[in-house]
């Protein structure tokens, strides 16, 4: 059987371009096992890309999404439609501020045999009433004990995305985009919706990994782009990635 194609999808925007550049260089330097990287930015961010950050570049496609009045919600909507930007069998979500610091075979790290590993958290990092934590319960109308809000990586087969969108229209009578726009940002967590959908509909198709026990991608370090810059985080990066 042919191995499924895997693409990394990164939804970025003008504020994160330095982080994006660093992340792409880290993928090129350390990550293997994937096919291409797909970077998605809103249209208004295109002219903000300085010429010193080449996009597209070998191994990296650049796709454009629409502008949203609130891009915090916009980036969540983009991720919920990731299959429209990537034709791969399997989509790996990463963020612009996630940087590989060691060699990583993504197929080995993100799959158990043929099953994608999907993270959950039983550690109580987010209390039960937290808006993001409750997001999938509210959306699906069913109790979910696990905390599904862990940030990417998130690896899912492409059929999940249209299926989730159809589910939203059937249950809520609106598109998933409309649902997202009508939901307060602190009550919407796109990765929790995606994880919740596969947990409720096809749990046996995945290997569920508690982040208390296992870092899903230890070779990849997550920074916080709104507080740090690549320069300020340079001492936490391997020499190959410093500028």
């Amino acid at each position: 059987m042919t191995a499924p194609s895997i693409e990394i999808v990164i939804r970025s925007y003008y504020r994160d371009l330095r982080w994006l550049d660093l992340s792409l260089r880290s993928i090129e330097r350390f990550a293997t096992g994937h096919d291409q990287v797909v970077v998605v930015v809103p249209r208004s961010s295109l002219p903000r890309i300085p010429s010193e950050i080449p996009l597209p570049r070998p191994g990296v496609r650049l796709r454009v999404c629409r502008d949203y009045p609130d891009d915090y919600v916009g980036q969540q909507i983009t991720k919920l439609h990731a299959d429209r930007y990537s034709a791969a069998d399997v989509i790996l979500h990463l963020d612009s501020d996630q940087v590989f610091v060691e060699p990583c075979d993504l197929r080995a790290r993100l799959f158990s045999g043929s099953l994608p590993r999907v993270s959950y958290d039983t550690g109580g990092r987010r209390p039960g009433p937290d808006g993001w934590r409750r997001c999938p319960e509210v959306f699906f109308g069913r109790p979910i004990d696990w905390d599904l809000t862990a940030p990417p990586p998130l690896t899912l087969p492409r059929h999940v995305y249209p299926a989730l969108r159809r589910y939203c229209e059937a249950r809520h009578g609106v598109s998933l985009s409309s649902y997202a726009r009508a939901t307060a940002p602190h009550r919407l967590c796109e990765v929790a919706l995606l994880r919740g959908f596969v947990l409720l509909t096809e749990p046996d198709h995945y290997r569920w990994v508690d982040v208390r026990d296992t870092d899903p991608l230890p070779e990849c370090r997550t920074f916080w782009s709104r507080l740090q810059t690549p320069d300020s985080a340079a001492d936490q990066l391997p020499a190959e990635l410093r500028r």
Binding site: Y14, R15, L17, S44, P47, R48, E52, W224, T229, D231
Partner: protein, 255 residues
């Protein structure tokens, strides 16, 4: 080498709004307050944006988290155009917050997005009023494609002359037409280009300073706060000027 403002400029949100006060009133109040110009909110911006059609390029920073609520956004720069129905726009040059006074990349970026927006919106001419005795600002404007016209603003003993250009002409002259916004913000430009933008923006900003301080006689630039579509009663003295002149009235501003 990165500029002093390079990092912050990369994170700066820039856009053009038709409703400055409606969208940014608390941010505008804080911004004007930081410049000791707080009175302008009530004296100028509120009545102006209510009575006239405006397009305003704004630059603002957002705090790390949360993205909404009190103090979530801080205005760092404003460039304003009062837009008429006959294809003219009256400009107020870029005003920056005190810490960004030498942030030429930001000033140039605001100029770029405002002029591009005005051109797309149908503005044929953009106009800045300049002290008739000005050499510094007048020279910079002429170097950027502006030409003196017949229109005048008279305030006290001082006359300000309209300098007008097509918006795309200004963008071309300043080398902003085909330059990526990201490169402008980062000043990823050759030294001569940076010097050109620096002279243009710093002279205009300095030229406004005396007006803000109520010393119009010494101001090189008159801010574009005139409501061109609804000129004040009794404020027009005639002298239409040449027929082809895109801007022709004379406006008396009481001091």
């Amino acid at each position: 080498m990165a500029s002093i403002h390079g990092d912050v400029n990369e994170r700066m949100e820039l856009r053009v709004t038709a409703d400055l006060v409606g969208e940014f009133r608390p941010e505008l109040a804080a911004f004007l307050g930081s410049l000791d110009l707080g009175r302008l909110l009530e004296e100028v911006f509120m009545p102006l944006t209510t009575a006239a059609r405006t397009r305003v390029a704004v630059a603002y920073e957002e705090r790390a988290w949360p993205p909404a609520g009190v103090g979530a956004r801080a205005l760092r720069g404003v460039a304003l155009a009062v837009v008429s129905d006959d294809g003219q726009s009256l400009l107020t040059p870029v005003v920056l917050s005190p810490q960004h006074v030498t942030n030429v990349g930001l000033a140039a970026a605001l100029t770029k997005i405002l002029l591009e927006d005005l051109a797309a919106d149908g503005t044929e001419w953009v106009t800045i009023f300049v002290n008739q005795r000005s050499k510094v600002v007048a020279g910079e404007l002429m170097g950027a494609g502006f030409e003196p016209r017949a229109a005048r603003v008279v305030t006290g003993e001082t006359e300000f002359t309209a300098f007008a250009s097509v918006p795309t002409g200004v963008l071309e002259s300043l080398g902003l037409a085909d330059t990526r916004l990201g490169d402008v913000l980062a000043l990823n430009l050759d030294r001569a280009h940076i010097s050109r933008l620096t002279a243009f923006h710093l002279s205009l900003a300095a030229g406004l300073t005396n007006y803000w301080a109520d010393r119009a006689r010494w101001a090189e630039v008159f801010p574009g706060f005139i409501d061109w579509a609804t000129l004040p009663p009794g404020g027009i003295t005639g002298t239409p000027g040449p027929a082809i002149d895109p801007v022709d009235p004379v406006v008396i501003v009481d001091r």
